[in-house]
């Protein structure tokens, strides 16, 4: 923290802002002034006012409350996708780099094949086969996402394996677990964290797009994309329905991408 304060104040600011911003949605269910699914037909499509800070939608639901609740779902889905795919990918990558060369070769070929196929199409195809639901979004996006982590982990471990200090440690009889803990984890941590932050923004957008076109989180659950689902029909009469939920996604992704760019340029990790 202190080191970061001296090196890059802008980055520190962005990180604190992101934590604050995410915290807002984590506790969104307590902060929301209204129940996100409470319909009030007397107050349909109202413009911004003191009671409804960001207006209401076609069923009289408060947009601000829906965005706050929706953020929880959006972030939860994105974080679970990244957690599952990174854990699977890192384990497979680590195992590959330790296995005999033919398994390694075969595994790497498979990973390259998966990476060669566009993940969006695989995900749409998968949701098509499994049917639209929250679990299926997570499964279908994890299906391709893990490959990138596996590839990065495998290549990094292969590099580290040849490093002098690891060779010396092995010669002096250090156990496998000791090498992983002392050398692999500290050396791989930074790069993997960078990839995770990079994927976060992308994943939030992808999940929201799926909900937006109706094959993701199903209404009335207030996920960010799902809120936008009906916004198009009220483009002429209620533009706030489309501006604010989109803005919430945009700000989140801008913050995350800024952090990942800054980390990449400066290598602060």
């Amino acid at each position: 923290m202190i080191r970061l304060w001296k090196q890059d104040k802008l980055l520190l600011g962005a990180i604190l802002l992101t934590i604050l911003w995410m915290g807002l949605f984590l506790f969104g269910s307590h902060l929301a002034p209204f129940d996100p699914n409470e319909t009030n037909l007397g107050a349909r499509l109202q413009d911004i006012s003191a009671t409804h800070l960001l207006g209401t939608d076609q069923l009289g639901r408060d947009v601000l409350s829906r965005i706050l609740w929706g953020g929880q779902d959006s972030l939860f889905i994105a974080i679970s996708i990244i957690a599952i795919s990174s854990i699977i990918g890192i384990c497979i990558g680590g195992l590959l780099s330790m296995s005999p060369w033919y398994i390694d070769e075969l595994g790497s070929r498979c990973i390259d094949m998966i990476l060669g196929f566009p993940s969006m199409i695989v995900a749409i195809a998968c949701i098509g086969i499994l049917g639209p639901s929250v679990e299926n979004i997570i499964i279908s996006l994890c299906l391709t996402r893990w490959a990138e982590y596996a590839k990065i982990t495998r290549n990094l471990v292969n590099l580290e394996k040849q490093a002098q200090y690891v060779v010396v440690a092995r010669m002096s009889g250090a156990s496998l677990w000791c090498i992983i803990r002392r050398y692999m984890i500290p050396n791989l941590r930074g790069t993997l964290l960078l990839v995770i932050i990079q994927h976060m923004g992308d994943t939030i957008i992808t999940v929201a797009s799926f909900s937006l076109i109706g094959i993701g989180v199903q209404p009335p659950t207030p996920e960010w994309g799902a809120i936008l689902l009906n916004a198009r029909d009220f483009l002429q009469t209620a533009p706030w329905l489309l501006i604010y939920p989109g803005l919430a996604i945009f700000i989140t992704v801008v913050l995350l991408n800024y952090i990942s760019d800054a980390l990449q340029d400066g290598r602060h990790v």
Partner: protein, 312 residues
């Protein structure tokens, strides 16, 4: 040369076979029974004995490899089956949907390439000046903004506030303008930075420095040294970006109600129309694999030294 071409074509057929087999097996495992689904759709509760009889007639009780072979054989003869929900041959749906999606993606890639090569080149040429900073901020924002939101905002700005385009227009050329711009902006987010960095890298490379010291004109340096290097970077990305654009077009088509492949697929998913879903997967994979293979061959022709993937 011929060997490379043959190798590429063989791997293309291999990938397609793998995709169809994977789709088929997953479809077999899913719990949807197409015969009962059709009954439910007509508002009838299916009688188990009749369902069993129809299944027998349609050959749905045969072993999976015979069914798979039959499915492949029918597809090779242009028979993709009947859509369960719309009750029309899928071929008819594809015939109108596929050209729309392909033209949308092609126009967006064209527009996006022009924009990103122009802006990226400009930023690299005026490196570390205000032009560079502005272009970098633009590309950063283009990458962070959700494509569907850009689409909705464009609709709001250019169809509601300043009525140049119609919100509900789905016919004619003007229906494609906004979706193409939306996809092109997304493409720019991915490419501007790559172009800029590739040009900056090329400018710092030894041949270019050498050529500069020899007093060769900038125009020729660009033509003979920088463009070939940048071209390689861009071409190697083009295959995977086309795939991403094909996937992304599903979202954009729904936002702008373009009746393309993506919208067909989304309707198929929502109504659980498995014939449509199958056909979408097969066709989009076919398009993607063909594009990717052509890019590979093109790259091989332009840069024979980069013979990765195939044995020369």
């Amino acid at each position: 040369m011929v060997r490379v071409l043959l190798y590429k074509l063989a791997s293309m057929v291999g990938v397609l076979l793998a995709v169809t087999l994977g789709t088929f097996l997953l479809m077999q495992m899913s719990s949807v029974d197409p015969v009962s689904a059709r009954f439910y759709l007509q508002g009838m509760t299916p009688d188990p004995t009749i369902v069993e009889q129809i299944r027998q007639e349609l050959g749905l009780n045969d072993p999976w490899y015979i069914q798979y072979g039959r499915w492949l054989w029918q597809m090779l003869h242009g028979d993709f089956g009947q859509s369960i929900f719309l009750n029309v041959p899928v071929v008819d749906l594809l015939q109108s949907a596929l050209p729309r999606t392909l033209s949308l993606v092609a126009v967006s890639i064209g527009l996006g390439s022009i924009l990103s090569i122009g802006l990226g080149g400009l930023a690299a040429h005026y490196k570390d000046t205000w032009i560079d900073y502005v272009v970098r901020i633009v590309s950063f924002l283009a990458l962070a903004v959700p494509a569907f939101w850009v689409g909705l905002l464009l609709l709001y700005a250019l169809a509601v506030k300043i009525p140049i385009f119609s919100v509900t227009n789905t016919k004619g050329l003007s229906a494609y303008v906004l979706p193409s711009i939306t996809l092109a902006i997304w493409f720019c987010g991915l490419y501007i930075r790559r172009v800029r960095n590739a040009v900056v890298q090329a400018q710092a490379s030894l041949p270019v420095i050498g050529a500069k010291t020899m007093g060769i004109r900038t125009r020729y340096i660009y033509r003979d040294y920088i463009i070939p290097q940048v071209r390689l970077v861009l071409l190697s990305m083009l295959g995977i970006t086309t795939g991403a654009m094909l996937g992304g077009s599903a979202v954009i088509e729904t936002v702008f109600s373009v009746k393309g492949m993506g919208q067909l697929m989304v309707h198929g998913i929502i109504s659980r129309d498995y014939i449509v879903i199958q056909s979408y997967i097969v066709w989009i994979s076919l398009v993607y694999v063909v594009v990717n293979t052509s890019v590979d061959i093109w790259m091989y022709l332009l840069h024979p030294e980069r013979r990765y993937g195939g044995r020369p």
